[in-house]
Structures are given as C-alpha cells and as structure tokens.
C-alpha cells in the first residue's frame, strides 16, 4: 500500500478517480488506466488504425463536408468506447491553439469572393482554407490523445516492433520513454535548488543560469547513458532488446481496430456521393 502511494504521487493526477493501475502506471505520464476494448487493443493495431484513419481524413477535400461529420462521429465513438476522461483530454488539446489562431486569420486576410456575417466581411476562400486546417488538425489531435491515453509505453514499443520499425529507433524510443521521468525529476530538483539559492527568472539576464542548468542536465544525461550501457553489457546486451515481449493478438482485436478506418472509408464514399 505504502509503495503504491509513492508511485501514484509521481504519476498524473488523473488517476485519482480510478485508483488501481495493476502496475501499469510505472513511468507513465499520459496513460490513463481504464478497462475498455480500446485499451486492450495491441499497440500495432492502434498505430495502423490511427495512421490509416488520419490519411483518409487528410486526403478528403473539405468541401465534402458530410464525410467530416462522419469522421468526428467515429472519433466520438472511439472516445466513448475508451472511457477516457474528456476534461483531461480537452486540457491536453490546448496544444492546438496557435494553429487555430493562424486559421482564424485566413477568412480576414485572403482575397477573392467575400460574404458578410453581420458587419464583418469574410473571404470565402479564406474561410474554407481556415476550416480545412482546423478540422483536419483537430482530428489528428483527437487521434493522438486517444492513443496516448489508452496505450502503455510497453504496448506502444511492442507495436513499433510489430510494424517493423528499425530496431535502433525502437531502442532509442524505449530509452527515451524509460528515462523521461528520471530526467524530468532531476530537472525539477535543479529548479528547486536554483530557487532555494534565491534565483528569480527575470529577462535575458537570467539566461546564463538556465544554460548552466542545461549543461549540467546534458552531462548527467550523458553519464547516465554510459552507466546504463555498461549495466546492459554486464547483463549480456548484444545490440537488441529482448524484453519487449509481443502482445497476444486475437481476431476480435483486428476487427475492432480496423473498423475505425473502415468506417472512415465508408464516410469518405458517402460524402463523395453527396458532394457530386
């Protein structure tokens, strides 16, 4: 019990509602533990479904708007099945804001044919382009949030192996995910140390302090890399990771996983019929 408490403190606050994690939480930053068919899907099926879905969506011309209604319904269906907390995901989605601003500028700046909404005059071409950007980017953001929320690091890495990602990249990603929290905690400790010496970040004058932190962070990361490498050699590492056991795949996993891109393809076709 005591041990789990410590474990939970370092993971995200989102787990407070659903306390048990079956040990999945070790080192996870974005994963939100739920019991859902989406969570059960093996990593590579999710990666394939994500990629196919978003390629179909990006290839669809925005004028074919019926298709996009379908795409969003598919996303909401996946969200519903996954039982992921919508509020937490909405907070994560704020990363998209700068591009929304960019897209909102288009109706006001583009030329050509224009139309009026009340007192403002908007460019038709600009509105379509802005809508295109926001819609497709939003679909991508939703997909990646569902993947991040429902997939453990281990499942994702096993998925990379299954889709034949070159071994070196899988290993780099494995080390990156494994040590992300370690290095982040180290950075947080350095921040506390800086502030307890009376440091306050003010303007460009504070940069040398930050860069010496960065320098120290690099030296510590590099030395840790060397230590990890030696420890691995001592355990018989010869260039490949054998610890990424592959998940069991059942036919029902493929059926569920592929049903999302399949629905997207149908949605594309229906939209095309309406459009033409």
């Amino acid at each position: 019990m005591e041990e789990r408490k410590i474990n939970n403190q370092t993971t995200l606050e989102t787990q407070s509602k659903h306390e048990h994690t079956h040990g999945h939480s070790a080192g996870e930053r974005l994963y939100i533990h739920r019991h859902s068919p989406i969570h059960e899907l093996p990593g590579h099926i999710k990666l394939i479904a994500f990629f196919t879905f978003i390629v179909i969506a990006v290839l669809t011309p925005i004028q074919q708007w019926h298709s996009f209604v379908g795409y969003f319904l598919i996303i909401f269906l996946a969200l519903g099945i996954s039982k992921l907390p919508l509020l937490t995901l909405a907070k994560r989605a704020t990363i998209e804001f700068p591009f929304i601003i960019f897209a909102l500028l288009m109706p006001f700046t583009a030329g050509g044919e224009s139309f009026d909404i009340g007192p403002v005059s908007l460019s038709r071409e600009g509105s379509i382009a802005g809508l295109n950007l926001v819609t497709k980017a939003t679909l991508g953001v939703f997909c990646s949030m569902i993947l991040a929320g429902s997939t453990t690091a281990h499942s994702l890495l096993a998925g990379f192996v299954r889709i034949k990602t070159p071994s070196l990249f899988v290993q780099i990603a494995a080390f990156m995910i494994r040590y992300l929290n370690v290095i982040n905690d180290q950075m947080a400790r350095m921040k506390v140390a800086r502030e307890s010496r009376g440091f306050q970040a003010e303007g460009i004058r504070s940069w040398p302090i930050f860069t010496s932190t960065l320098g120290a962070l690099f030296i510590r990361s590099y030395e840790r890399g060397e230590r990890v490498h030696l420890a691995m050699l001592a355990r018989g590492y010869a260039g490949t990771l054998s610890s990424l056991s592959v998940e069991k795949v059942q036919a029902k996993h493929w059926r569920l996983g592929l049903c999302f891109p399949l629905m997207a393809a149908i949605s594309y076709a229906v939209g095309k019929v309406f459009f033409s």
Binding site: V58, I95, P98, G140, I172, V182, I183, F210, F218, E226
Partner: protein, 217 residues
C-alpha cells in the same frame, strides 16, 4: 510548434518523408560506425535531454518566453548523426502521444528539423571551425553561427513545402517573409542559448563535446 495534419498536402508530405528516410538511413550508418552498440542508450538519453531541455522556458520580455529547439546543440554535443536520430524519435513521440505535430506531417517535421536543421547547422559549424583553425573559441563561435543559421534554414524548408503543397490562402512569398523574419529573431535566441550551454559543458567536461574532437583545446 510543429506542422499539424492537413496543413501541407499528402504528396508533398510523402516526398518529404522519403527524403527524411534517406537522410536518416545515412545517419543510422554513421551513428552505428561511430558508436557501435553504445548507440541506443546514448542517443536515447540525448533524446530525453532534448525533450526535457525544450521544456525550460527562457523569459524574453513582457511575459513572453521561448524555448530551445536543440538541433545544433545536440549536433555539436554528440555529433550530427546521433542528433538526427534523437531528434527524429523526439518528433515521432511528440506527434504520436503529445499531439504536437500531425502524424501525416511527421515526414515534413523530421525533414525540416532533424535533417535540414541538424545537418545544415552542423555543416555551418564545420565551416566556421575550419576557418577559425579549430580552437576552443572556434567551437563556440561555430556553435553560435550554426545555431543561428539552423532555425531560419528549417523555416525556409517549411516555406518551400508550403509553396509546393500548402493548404492555406496566404501567398507562399508572404509565408516565407513572415517565417524567415520571425525565425531570424528566434535564431538569435537559439544561438545565445546554444553557445552558453556548450560553453558551460566545455568548462567541466570538454571531453564530452563531439565538436571539440579534432579541435585543439
């Protein structure tokens, strides 16, 4: 801030992805040659370093702040091959899990930052080091110039992709002018941060700095 889905069309994204794969193939060969089986853990930790380093916000003025991109910093510290691999993995994880950059735009982002940013920047670094006869200050000046150049260079690559397959209504020349001018300012910040960081590491562990190898201390 990376390119999201739907901003550049799929043919352009595919072409960029092919170029990125070619560049990465070369980087993998070079990294394996230079680092052997040490490559995976070291590049992995460098990837964490870039990822974490990007989270430090440098206050600029009036409440605004910026962060490091790290292409040239990583290239000077561990070599361009390892830096390209680390940055690629960072970009892939950011696109897949953090929704920073679209999955269909991954090839574009990797090409601009991990290939053009890293190798272009490192080329500039080597040039400066050669001209200044490989001293410690040459490494610092080279880092500064390379870091400064790498940012507008990546922005230029983006503008080119936008000109070929952009899905916006802004004219390609407008986008280029806006991207180039803002990224020159960002490049100055990048140069200052990179140089100060390389300097801080040279003070304590000059043996770790890849760009110092073959240079006289």
């Amino acid at each position: 801030m990376h390119i999201p889905d739907g901003f550049i069309n799929i043919p352009t994204a595919s072409a960029s992805a092919a170029l990125a794969v070619a560049g990465l193939g070369y980087s993998v060969r070079a990294a394996k040659e230079k680092l052997d089986e040490k490559a995976a853990p070291l590049v992995g930790l460098v990837a964490v370093f870039i990822f974490a380093g990007q989270m430090i916000n440098f206050p600029v003025a009036a409440g605004t702040s910026g962060h490091l991109l790290g292409a040239v910093l990583a290239a000077v510290l561990v070599g361009p091959h390892a830096a390209a691999l680390a940055l690629t993995v960072v970009l892939a994880i950011q696109a897949l899990l953090f929704a920073d950059g679209g999955l269909t735009a991954l090839g574009l982002n990797v090409f601009n930052m991990a290939i053009v940013g890293v190798w272009g920047g490192y080329g500039a670094f080597l040039l400066v080091r050669k001209v200044l006869r490989s001293t410690r200050s040459a490494v610092l000046v080279g880092s500064a110039i390379a870091a400064f150049i790498s940012v507008p260079l990546a922005a230029t690559a983006f503008s080119l992709q936008y000109a070929i397959g952009g899905q916006g209504t802004f004219a390609a020349s407008t986008v280029f002018a806006a991207m180039f001018s803002t990224h020159i300012v960002i490049g100055i910040g990048e140069a200052v941060i990179t140089t100060l960081t390389v300097g801080a590491i040279l003070k304590t562990r000059p043996d770790l700095v890849f760009g110092m190898k073959k240079a006289k201390a």
